[in-house]
């Protein structure tokens, strides 16, 4: 066999090398396609991924808007406070236990927390080591300053600021302001965009005005390296960093509440459970709204709520967490009588001179119905019927009026329907219409006796104190049903004010003559000898007009049983005392409702409370303090 010479050998190799060049070309082409795919086709996606690597967004929490009174007091505000955090990567190193003990002695941490910290730090690896851990929270500024002087030479400790909600009037305005708390899982879906660490209003203004008060989060972009270390600004040699957006404080809400009336309401109720509402009859502005007993919102708004405090508030039979002015409905009792009275005149079933004979008790269709005054009022016409609150008069009147007309007229005055006040969780109350009766008392027939009970505010009718205020305001202002409102304007962080317009829910057409007749009778209640409130009114200030009410919350038969067997429940089941007044009677400006739970007699227990507010209002007006 022939041996190839060098020339042939080289030619052979050269031939193959041309194939090799082709292969090389194709391989580099394929690599170019791959790179082009990564860089051009999916470049944007990879750019975003690279940003996700080195950019870390930190939320800046906004300060909550303030809640202010009309007379310049602050009901709720925020105070800057501080928290101390450690960064595990730079804290301690190997001597976890020793460093933790040292930190604990500076900060005064309990042993249990130190144990948890040591355990946490010794298991913290990777990214965990670059995530701050809060060790002390809610520190006031002076405390922070004192502690940070000791902390300067402890590595890995940082101090950052946060906010705490403060309610300067505390207990006094608790049912107005409500309180804030850590956002719950359920609330997170109700408030999209909220941080899981944020606080939201749980009740009161805090809740109903949450969206205005909350403010907008800011953002701060941190540049981090591959192990999560923060890169300081001077080292940022590259990388596009989005600008820092400062947090925007929430809008402040200005209420119409007058702090001295609010304080007067608290003082007037004293130890007694109940509620007081005072409202402007022309705008629906709430000037005071107080429910007793109250609670301290400062104790419920922190990061941690003391279990004993929570237990005390939630378990108390006097229900301090319930706003009795809007969340608790009462039998209106005799305060309800203005409605059948006015209805009687408006429908023409009685004239001011129509009189009925009250002999104490009467038989109606085989049912004995009695007046509160067992001696009877003799012949009673319209004015004395209201003034002395004669039940028998209203039995006769309701007989002529009929159930349907009475409930229709009541409906016009918003009985049994929430008023739409800007406070959370208002209750409806009950207006026992025919449909309501058929639904709730199946198999029974709606007889005259039922209507008669309704006419004197007993039976099934329930109203909140606020609904009474709205109904009386309508009588005082000529028929306008106003939506009561707490907040009269919003103020943004630049100080710009956005006023809220008063809202009229309905204008009830009333004959002026009839309205005057009612007003006149209500004046007599307070200002004439024999009126149910006469003896308890303060006659040193201009006259008010009003109506008392004493509502049985249990029947007389039940009462006798309880009196025998249960000493404790006797006081709890005493009659509720109510008074609704307009002031001044000549040209009313405000309406006040006072309800004293188990207050026994409306005139005696509730009238002086309303009068204290009238007096304060009279002497101090609405001027700034």
């Amino acid at each position: 066999m022939r041996i190839l010479d060098q020339q042939e050998e080289v030619r052979n190799i050269a031939r193959k090398s041309r194939v090799l060049m082709g292969v090389i070309f194709v391989s580099l082409l394929l690599l170019s396609v791959r790179i082009g795919y990564l860089q051009l086709h999916r470049g944007g996606e990879h750019l975003q991924k690279s940003k996700n690597n080195y950019l870390l967004r930190e939320k800046i929490f906004p300060a909550r808007g303030d809640i202010l009174t009309a007379d310049g007091r602050t009901l709720a505000t925020t105070s800057a406070q501080f928290r101390i955090q450690i960064l595990p990567a730079f804290f301690a190193g190997d001597e976890v236990e020793e460093s933790s003990m040292r930190l604990a002695s500076i900060l005064g941490l309990p042993d249990r927390q130190v144990g948890e910290l040591v355990e946490f730090l010794s298991t913290c690896r990777g990214r965990c080591r670059y995530t701050p851990v809060t060790v002390r929270d809610e520190l006031p500024k002076n405390e922070m300053l004192r502690l940070s002087s000791y902390l300067t030479d402890v590595p890995g400790v940082t101090v950052s600021s946060s906010y705490r909600r403060v309610y300067p009037l505390g207990v006094t305005a608790a049912h107005l302001t409500g309180y804030v708390g850590r956002i719950s899982r359920g609330d997170l879906s109700a408030y999209p965009g909220y941080d899981p660490e944020s606080f939201v209003g749980k009740t009161g203004i805090e809740r109903s005005w949450e969206r205005e008060l909350h403010g907008a989060y800011g953002e701060l972009w941190q540049v981090i390296d591959h192990v999560g270390r923060r890169i300081e600004k001077q080292d940022r040699s590259s990388g596009e960093v989005p600008p820092t957006v400062p947090a925007r404080k929430g809008r402040s809400v200005q209420t119409a509440v007058l702090s001295y009336l609010q304080e007067e309401a608290e003082a007037a109720l004293g130890e007694r459970a109940g509620a007081v509402v005072m409202m402007d009859i022309h705008t629906g502005d709430i000037l005071a709204l107080y429910s007793n007993p109250s609670y301290d919102p400062n104790l419920l708004s922190g990061r941690r709520i003391s279990p004993s405090v929570w237990l005390e508030y939630s378990e108390s039979v006097l229900r301090p967490l319930t706003n009795k002015a809007i969340q608790s409905s009462f039998f209106p009792g005799s305060t309800f009588k203005v409605i059948p009275a006015l209805a009687g005149l408006e429908y023409g079933v009685v004239t001011p001179h129509t009189s009925f004979l009250c002999t104490g008790c009467l038989m109606f269709d085989a049912e004995v119905k009695c007046c509160w005054n067992k001696w009877g009022h003799a012949y009673t016409a319209f004015r004395r019927g209201l003034k002395e609150s004669c039940d028998i008069y209203f039995y006769f009147l309701s007989e002529r009026l009929g159930h349907h007309r009475l409930t229709e007229f009541s409906r016009l005055f918003h009985v049994g329907r929430r008023t739409g006040i800007d406070l959370a969780e208002e209750e409806d109350g009950i207006l026992p219409t025919t449909e309501w009766f058929n639904h709730n008392h199946r198999g029974q027939t709606l007889n005259k006796g039922y209507t008669m009970n309704l006419a004197i505010g007993q039976g099934d009718v329930r109203m909140t104190p606020l609904q009474l205020a709205v109904a009386y305001a309508a009588i005082a202002n000529g028929g306008l049903i106003l939506r009561p409102r707490i907040v009269s304007s919003l103020i943004d962080d630049q100080g710009r004010r956005e006023p809220m317009e008063p809202e009229v829910l309905r204008a009830v057409q009333l004959k002026e003559k009839n309205r005057r007749e009612v007003m006149n009778a209500l004046w007599a209640v307070v200002n004439e000898e024999g009126g149910t409130a006469f003896r308890y009114a303060d006659h040193t200030i201009p006259a008010a007009a009003g109506k008392t009410g004493t509502s049985q919350i249990i029947s007389k038969t039940e009462r006798r049983q309880i009196d025998i067997v249960d000493e404790d429940r006797r006081s709890m089941t005493a009659d509720d005392a109510l008074f609704v007044g307009m002031f001044p009677a000549r040209r009313p400006e405000v309406v006040a409702v006072a309800v004293v739970e188990s207050g026994a007699h409306g005139g005696e227990a509730a009238t002086p409370i309303a009068y204290r507010l009238f007096k304060s209002y009279y002497y101090r007006g609405r001027g700034e303090e």
Partner: protein, 364 residues
């Protein structure tokens, strides 16, 4: 053009690649300029070696092939005994002032050895029988084994492939070639089962699954490395983020970003445009080298040229394939671009030889 002392079309792309590499390294090593200076020293050494090899008589290199091969074997053995351990493998010899990576020189040694031996072995018209090249095969296997023991599977396989290509570019008996292919196919599963270490299998399967299924639950660290590298390359887009402005690089999301993964830094900062420029340089360099094969006088030069092109080309393909997530993570640097002196020196010797052939064949 007679008597010309330099082949510009070969030297210029080389210079281009080297410059781009140094620019990229100065960005990747911005936090550690000490290492950049070390690399500059290596570049100077490599340039000196290149010139030395270019202007020495040709025959000298053929004669030196066998001693050079034996010296390399000695160094490779020494690595296993007194080598410096970095990242779980013994690949370096610590010379006090520098670290030497003998496996890089083994590439040169094997190419020279094969070319010199085959040059002296006449070929029949049918080509070599397998029996004719047993000593060469044993020599290659010996080198591979020593490198594999470090362990460095990547370089070991690279040498095998280069040796195969050099041998195949001579004339081989067809029937014998078919037999060889059958043996290879049969031995692969055995190799997988008994020879490969677990971490090597994991890396290969990890990338295989990533390529074919787009995800992998194996080998977290090499997966992370590949992911970050792909993000770096992709985020460079058309024109790159700019010099020293690659966030994947600066904030060190890419491990080994100055050695095996340096291309990801380059692609991040200079984009697709930069990548294509680099590819153009490589293509020109390879083309210019292969162009001289028909012009050379003997088989030695032809085989050294082919071996050089194959070893450089393979490293480019494997390295960039690895950086772009198409191939498993193996320790193969990008020639004339990655940080590392031994590789630079070894590659410069090889290209210097081809440059020598070029000057002697083109311009004589």
């Amino acid at each position: 053009m007679k008597g010309r002392r330099i082949d510009l079309l070969m030297v210029l792309p080389l210079f281009g690649i080297l410059s781009l590499g140094l620019v990229t390294l100065s960005s990747a090593l911005s936090y550690n300029p000490q290492r950049l200076y070390a690399q500059l020293v290596w570049v100077a050494l490599a340039a000196a070696a290149f010139l030395f090899v270019t202007y020495r008589p040709l025959r000298m290199w053929e004669n030196l092939a066998v001693p050079f091969y034996l010296a390399t074997l000695l160094l490779l053995s020494l690595v296993l005994v007194i080598g410096k351990k970095v990242g779980g493998a013994y690949r370096w010899l610590d010379l006090g002032f520098m670290n030497l990576q003998p496996s890089e020189f083994a590439k040169v040694a094997v190419i020279l050895f094969l070319a010199a031996r085959l040059n002296q072995k006449p070929t029949l018209q049918d080509g070599y029988k397998l029996a004719d090249i047993v000593p060469e095969t044993v020599a290659v296997l010996l080198t591979m084994t020593l490198i594999y023991a470090e362990p460095d599977l990547g370089t070991s396989l690279l040498i095998a492939f280069v040796a195969l290509m050099v041998i195949l570019s001579t004339k081989i008996n067809t029937r014998h070639l078919i037999a060889l292919i059958i043996i290879t196919v049969v031995s692969t599963p055995i190799l997988w089962k008994f020879v490969l270490a677990d971490y090597q299998k994991r890396r290969i399967t990890a990338v295989a699954t990533m390529v074919f299924r787009g995800a992998s639950d194996e080998s977290l660290s090499s997966r992370y490395q590949t992911e970050q590298s792909v993000i770096a390359v992709g985020s460079g887009r058309m024109s790159g983020k700019g010099y020293r402005a690659g966030t994947q690089n600066i904030f060190r999301f890419i491990p080994e970003h100055h050695t095996d993964f340096v291309f990801s830094v380059y692609a991040e900062e200079f984009g697709f445009a930069g990548g294509m420029l680099l590819f153009a340089f490589y293509l020109l360099l390879f083309y210019r080298m292969l162009e001289i094969v028909p012009l050379v006088r003997d088989k030695f030069m032809a085989l050294v040229t082919v071996g050089t092109v194959v070893v450089l080309w393979l490293q480019v393909v494997i390295n960039i394939g690895m950086v772009t997530g198409m191939l498993p993570v193996v320790g193969i640097p990008l020639p004339f671009f990655s940080y590392g002196g031994s590789a630079l020196l070894a590659n410069s010797i090889l290209v210097g030889l081809v440059h020598n052939f070029s000057i002697n064949s083109r311009y004589r």
